[in-house]
């Protein structure tokens, strides 16, 4: 315990000295997130400095082993870093699907060679990854995916189409589910493979969403040649890797509502609507909605903390991330419904300097995907019912 307290005070001091003031302000736009990659650009000098200092300390991913560019911290230490960063409002120095999704899967299923090849480039922000999972006819029923990889000597030739590929148009590499055995049952013929997005035959096409943004793409593969050594895990057992990765993806999505929110909802609403003489929000119904929301938000934060602690103690259920994903995404949708109500007609402006380009309504619309991407709420409830509660049927 004494060691941890020392670690905490050292961490606090180091962050205090090294985190630029600008990087302690709540994020206000997508540009405030640094994703890394071959074409990465820093939106500010402070963002560059912060990223490089954290990278050099190994704290872009504090809990990964040092040999792969991580900080080599144990669970307790990593939690302290998170807590101390949160205490000063420090932004994540690097955000990437390499950290939140591929990395955990590589650590578990990758060969030593694959880990050495890919993990250091993730921690150093050199390669930006995207996820090739969903297809036009494989959404909730992901295992029915049809993109095929046919053997050709030491390579596979990949043909097919992915959809909802987040930021595929900015990504350098893709981790992709492909069918390597079309004759097998649908869960049994899938492999998990990695390849460069600049490979010949890969094209991406952004999809315009209701928010007016295009964070997702259609991704096409036309005779893309990929070495067989790029398969992660066993050929035709890619579903195991896919599911393991999904647990991490769901844990990440469940936490999406927590970051960089800035002012409390009640104050945001009071600024817009006003308060009565006693300081109570001048909309009794909205006030009670916000209060209930904040109760649930605080409870979810406790549950997220507990989930990490349970995992560390070896007491967690592997499907629990589905429970968190369900609750976290539904809660984030509630947050934005409240923000829209609090903003009233001001929150309806779509294009103006005043509205920062309609930031709020666009963010509100974006949240509607939270309960769809990474597995719909209905799929999550089905997983909880069957895998945790052991209810019978299908």
């Amino acid at each position: 315990m004494a060691d941890l307290e020392t670690f905490r005070s050292e961490t606090r001091a180091w962050l205090g000295q090294n985190c630029p003031a600008e990087m302690r302000k709540p994020m206000t736009s997508d540009g405030d997130t640094f994703w890394g990659g071959r074409n990465a650009k820093f939106s500010s000098e402070a963002q560059r400095v912060w990223f490089e200092r954290m990278r050099d300390k190994g704290w872009t991913v504090p809990h990964w082993p040092k040999e792969y560019g991580g900080g080599g911290l144990d669970g307790e230490e990593a939690k302290i870093v998170r807590q101390e960063m949160a205490a000063i409002g420090a932004r994540a120095p690097l955000t990437s699907f390499g950290i939140s999704m591929l990395g955990p899967a590589l650590l578990k299923y990758g060969t030593e060679e694959q880990k050495k090849e890919h993990l250091p480039k993730i921690t150093a922000g050199l390669i930006r990854w995207c996820q090739g999972y969903s297809e036009p006819n494989a959404g909730s029923d992901l295992a029915s995916l049809q993109t095929r990889a046919e053997s050709d000597g030491n390579d596979y030739i990949i043909n097919g189409q992915k959809i909802w590929t987040s930021y595929a148009n900015y990504a350098d590499w893709i981790f992709c589910l492909v069918r390597t055995d079309p004759a097998a049952k649908k869960h049994d013929g899938i492999s998990f493979i990695l390849f460069d997005m600049t490979s010949k035959g890969v094209t991406t096409k952004p999809i315009l969403l209701i928010s007016g943004y295009s964070p997702f793409c259609e991704t096409f593969f036309d005779n893309v040649r990929v070495p067989k050594s790029h398969v992660v895990g066993t050929v035709n057992r890619g579903w195991d890797v896919a599911k393991y990765l999904l647990q991490h993806e769901r844990a990440m999505i469940s936490g999406m509502g927590e970051r960089g929110v800035g002012r409390p909802l009640g104050q945001i609403a009071a600024d817009s609507i006003g308060a009565d003489a006693q300081g109570k929000l001048d909309d009794a119904q909205l006030r009670s909605q916000i209060a209930s929301f904040e109760v649930d938000e605080a409870a979810l934060a406790a549950a997220a903390e507990r989930a990490v602690d349970l995992a560390k103690a070896g007491q967690s259920h592997p499907a629990f991330s589905s429970a968190m994903k369900y609750y976290g995404t539904e809660l984030n949708k509630r947050r934005y419904e409240i923000l829209m109500s609090a903003g009233g007609i001001d929150a309806l402006e779509w294009e103006s300097e005043r509205s920062k380009g309609g930031a709020r309504p666009r963010a509100w619309l974006r949240t509607k995907a939270n309960s769809i991407e990474g597995g719909t709420s209905e799929v999550m409830l089905g997983i909880v019912a069957k895998r945790i509660l052991d209810l019978p049927g299908a």
């Binding site: 409390p264 009640g266 104050q267 609403a269 009071a270 308060a275 300081g279 109570k280 929000l281 006030r287 009670s288 916000i290 209060a291 209930s292 904040e294 109760v295 649930d296 605080a298 409870a299 979810l300 406790a302 549950a303 903390e305 507990r306 602690d309 349970l310 560390k312 103690a313 007491q315 629990f320 429970a323 369900y326 609750y327 209905e378 999550m380 409830l381 089905g382 909880v384 019912a385 069957k386 945790i388 509660l389 052991d390 209810l391 019978p392 049927g393 299908a394």
Partner: protein, 379 residues
């Protein structure tokens, strides 16, 4: 601190669960109810509680207790919630002990705490007066009289009030209704002249009383804490009690849920287990998630109380608000998913619904605590 139980805490849970599930299953409450038991709990079991160190769990060691904390008290409360065991534990071992240990003089502690630890003294906290829990609205008057005070007014919903050997009473000694200043806590002998206790039969077959004070004389030594400055002490004690009741509701919710999931797997209609129907699967999954999140919030609050009662207010408000809505959902879904059987007195599930309703009101319902949170955040 990690949001999981330590090894010692897990052992405490196992021993509490072993005792309570063995000696006081729901049938125990049913028997007390059907027999119209005058005490409303088992004194014999209370002696066992004392022998196992549960009655003095929160009592500092120098006064004969175990000197444990709110997390441990919550563990016992959770097991009590699983079987709905009526027990003096909440009123005596949580509320009264907290009040005495936090606000009492050395003499007051020495007089009462060892007796609570050995199981020979029962106590009750008298707070509520109106239909809803509003401690700041305390009206019961404490008028100065000679060296002491005269208490006049009414209390309601006094848990275990009819069996208490000692009452801890919140009274207004100064100021107006709604003021924080001007509240004082008193230690009162229930046999004092002018004091009338009426046991109130409650929907959940647990113990409560209405108490009328008609110029009840108490001396200056009866003041617990400081005159007119009792609110902070009271609020701390109530927050400990809220954490305890929230734990009871977690145990209650989980038990109802477990029984309901078992029923979903057993009951067959249309030629299959009703748990195969997606309409029920999804509701069961939602309830499971709700309970797990509430469990984390409650443990967070209990740890916060142990780290410092004065700073635990927000975490406690979150925990009690969540526990109330979760328990309400659990018992409603429990009865509904049991179908017609859920409506029968023969099935235990109705007992849980009744107790959940009482726990919701106890020390502030979900609305009260959400409102507290909003006030705390300035909206």
């Amino acid at each position: 601190m990690a949001l999981v139980l330590t090894e010692e805490q897990s052992m405490l849970r196992d021993s509490a669960r072993g005792l309570i599930s063995d000696k006081a299953p729901v049938a125990h409450l049913r028997g007390l109810r059907d027999g119209k038991d005058a005490t409303g709990f088992s004194r014999e079991l209370w002696t066992t509680f004392a022998e196992m160190g549960f009655s003095g769990l929160l009592v500092p060691e120098q006064f004969g207790g175990s000197g444990l904390g709110c997390v441990e008290a919550g563990i016992v409360m959770e097991e009590i919630g699983r079987t709905l065991m009526p027990s003096p534990f909440l009123a005596t071992s949580v509320l009264a002990v907290s009040a005495l240990a936090r606000g009492g003089t050395v003499a007051q502690k020495a007089q009462h705490l060892p007796k609570i630890s050995d199981g020979s003294l029962l106590a009750a906290l008298a707070i509520d007066e109106g239909a809803k829990h509003r401690p700041l609205q305390t009206k019961l008057q404490a008028a100065r009289s000679g060296n002491g005070f005269k208490l006049s007014g009414d209390k309601a919903f006094v848990v275990d009030g009819h069996t208490a050997d000692l009452l801890i009473v919140a009274a207004r000694s100064a100021g107006s209704v709604g003021d924080k200043d001007g509240l004082t806590l008193f230690l009162v002998d229930p046999k004092a002249k002018g004091l009338a206790v009426e046991r109130t039969a409650m929907v959940d077959s647990h113990n409560a009383a209405r108490i009328v004070f008609d110029n009840v004389e108490v001396n200056a030594d009866s003041v617990l804490g400081e005159v007119d400055q009792g609110f902070a002490l009271l609020e701390g004690v109530l927050n400990i009690g809220r954490g305890a009741v929230a734990s009871e509701m977690v145990g209650l919710s989980e038990e109802v849920f477990g029984r309901t999931v078992t029923y979903l797997k057993e009951r067959k209609q249309f030629g299959k287990a009703i748990g195969e129907f997606q309409a029920l699967q999804h509701r069961a999954a939602q309830l499971y998630i709700d309970i797990e999140i509430t469990r984390a919030a409650v443990l967070k609050a209990l740890q916060a109380l142990d780290a410092g009662v004065d700073k635990a207010g927000t975490a406690v408000a979150v925990a009690k608000a969540r526990a109330g809505t979760t328990a309400t959902l659990a018992v409603q879904e429990g009865v509904q998913m049991h179908g017609g059987m859920g409506m029968t007195d023969q099935f235990d599930i109705g007992f849980f619904m009744k107790r959940a309703r009482v726990c919701q009101e106890l020390f502030g319902d979900s609305n009260f605590h959400a409102d507290q949170l909003a006030r705390g955040k300035g909206y």
